[in-house]
């Protein structure tokens, strides 16, 4: 095992040398690269990375440029997870045969995917990786929409959000199905570590990533990624919107160890109403019309119920 990087405070964190480069083509104010930086800077070890098709992949690997300073591979929409799993299997094989050139350097295997590649298209592949128990981390950059192809709904899109395939108008209030609970699904695989993170809570996030790197086996991280283009807010508000999401408990921050031990890692001092979170984004604008306002109350009920359930699970250790 290699040493865990010491990150006591933000000043110490800021001495990290980024392995992700600027002049990528992500939108100004995109949370994807904030998340990627926090993940990559959480360790000093070598990295072997893969990305599924999505905003992150198309924006950081535009020929003739690459924005990655580590081994990085892209194959298809569905198989970011299996690409890294294959590399990890190869690493294990070479290690067993004693053919590693630098056996003292233990790399970390990380796959990145958007919510489309994680919740929908790559789901079977990720499930396979977790069942086989590869020693890897899968980071889902969850922006709740297929942002790269123009804002189609995914199974992560929450109720009431207006997406291009579920537009809000006079006959519909937008997306009608609730978001899939991917964190619970991955925890049900019995993975050693599963967590939900948000980029605005950087310390919580770095601690979780380091726990994930230290765990033996597959690790799933669901990272909330506020999307300035599809959620429709001003680019400078990315962190403010993320704060609203975590403080209104729309995105509660918690971890699940070995599929059973649930710990809530962030309890907001002042829980703000979900209405504030919805009102800050253009995709929920129509919910504030009279005929759809009942949806906001439903949202609040749902979020409260989820928070209640998480607290019960934490207490009961199941």
């Amino acid at each position: 095992m290699s040493e865990i990087k010491k990150i006591k405070n933000l000043k110490e964190f800021s001495t990290s040398a980024d392995r992700f480069e600027g002049a990528n083509l992500l939108c100004p104010g995109c949370a994807h690269s904030i998340i990627v930086r926090e993940v990559l800077n959480a360790t000093n070890d070598d990295l072997i990375l893969a990305a599924s098709t999505g905003c992150l992949e198309v924006c950081t690997a535009v020929y003739p440029y690459t924005s990655w300073d580590a081994s990085w591979i892209h194959i298809g929409f569905e198989n970011g997870s299996t690409a890294v799993a294959g590399a990890e299997a190869m690493y294990k094989a070479l290690k067993t045969k004693g053919r590693l050139k630098q056996p003292d350097r233990v790399p970390k295997f990380v796959a990145f995917g958007g919510d489309g590649a994680t919740y929908d298209i790559g789901f079977q592949w990720i499930s396979g990786c977790f069942e086989r128990g590869h020693n890897m981390m899968y980071v889902c950059l969850d922006n709740e929409v297929y942002a790269n192809t123009g804002g189609q709904r995914s199974s992560s899109t929450p109720i009431g959000a207006s997406a291009t395939t579920t537009p809000a108008g006079s006959v519909s209030y937008g997306e009608k199905k609730n978001k899939k609970d991917m964190v619970a699904i991955m925890a049900a695989h019995g993975a050693p570590y599963v967590a939900q993170v948000a980029p605005n809570k950087w310390k919580d996030m770095v601690a979780k990533i380091q726990k994930g790197f230290a765990a033996e086996g597959p690790v799933f991280i669901n990272a909330m990624s506020a999307c300035t283009t599809e959620w429709k807010f001003a680019p400078e508000d990315t962190i403010a919107i993320s704060d609203l999401a975590t403080d209104s408990l729309v995105f509660p921050l918690y971890e699940i160890i070995n599929g059973t031990e649930l710990n809530i890692t962030y309890r907001p001092k002042n829980i703000i109403p979900v209405r504030d979170y919805l009102g800050a984004q253009g995709r929920f604008k129509h919910l504030f019309k009279k005929e759809y306002s009942y949806l906001i109350d439903e949202w609040q009920t749902r979020v409260d119920a989820k928070w209640e359930q998480l607290q019960r699970r934490e207490e009961a250790r199941v």
Partner: protein, 138 residues
């Protein structure tokens, strides 16, 4: 740097980020890295900006919020001190200004044509706290 033409690139699907080998990339700062022309570090997105952030170090408390929340690796911090902005890679999103906690802010957005000296002269003074600056909460 001399750039290769469209037909001058290495054939194949692999791009090398650096010229030559770097032993430990995680501890090598960008100024010590030999970026190849395949790295997007050698490209620029400066023309995306309408407004640019400018930095006044008199008010900076080196909290590094701007560093950690910058999506474009454009806040340059060395030895735990914020020392400047990388205008080749800054896209002008304004997150650094929003997260800056000082009073007055030590980072502010200015029109792209504004020169730094005149911006520093007309930098706002400290305001007595009357109401909290409600960032992004309407």
């Amino acid at each position: 740097m001399e750039k290769a033409g469209w037909d001058g690139f290495e054939i194949g699907a692999m791009l090398r980020t650096f010229d030559g080998a770097i032993q430990n990339i995680a501890t090598t700062l960008p100024e010590d890295r030999a970026y190849s022309q395949s790295s997007s570090f050698t490209a620029s997105v400066a023309d995306w900006r309408i407004e640019k952030p400018l930095f006044n170090k008199d008010y900076c408390i080196d909290c590094q919020f701007c560093w950690v929340f910058c999506p474009d690796m454009s806040i340059i911090s060395r030895d735990k001190k914020m020392i400047g902005i990388d205008f080749d890679h800054c896209k002008g999103c304004g997150i650094c200004v929003e997260v800056c906690p000082t009073n007055p802010k030590s980072l502010l957005m200015f029109p792209e044509q504004k020169d730094e000296e005149s911006a520093l002269v007309e930098w706002p003074k400290k305001v007595k706290k009357e109401k909290e600056d409600e960032v992004g909460e309407e």
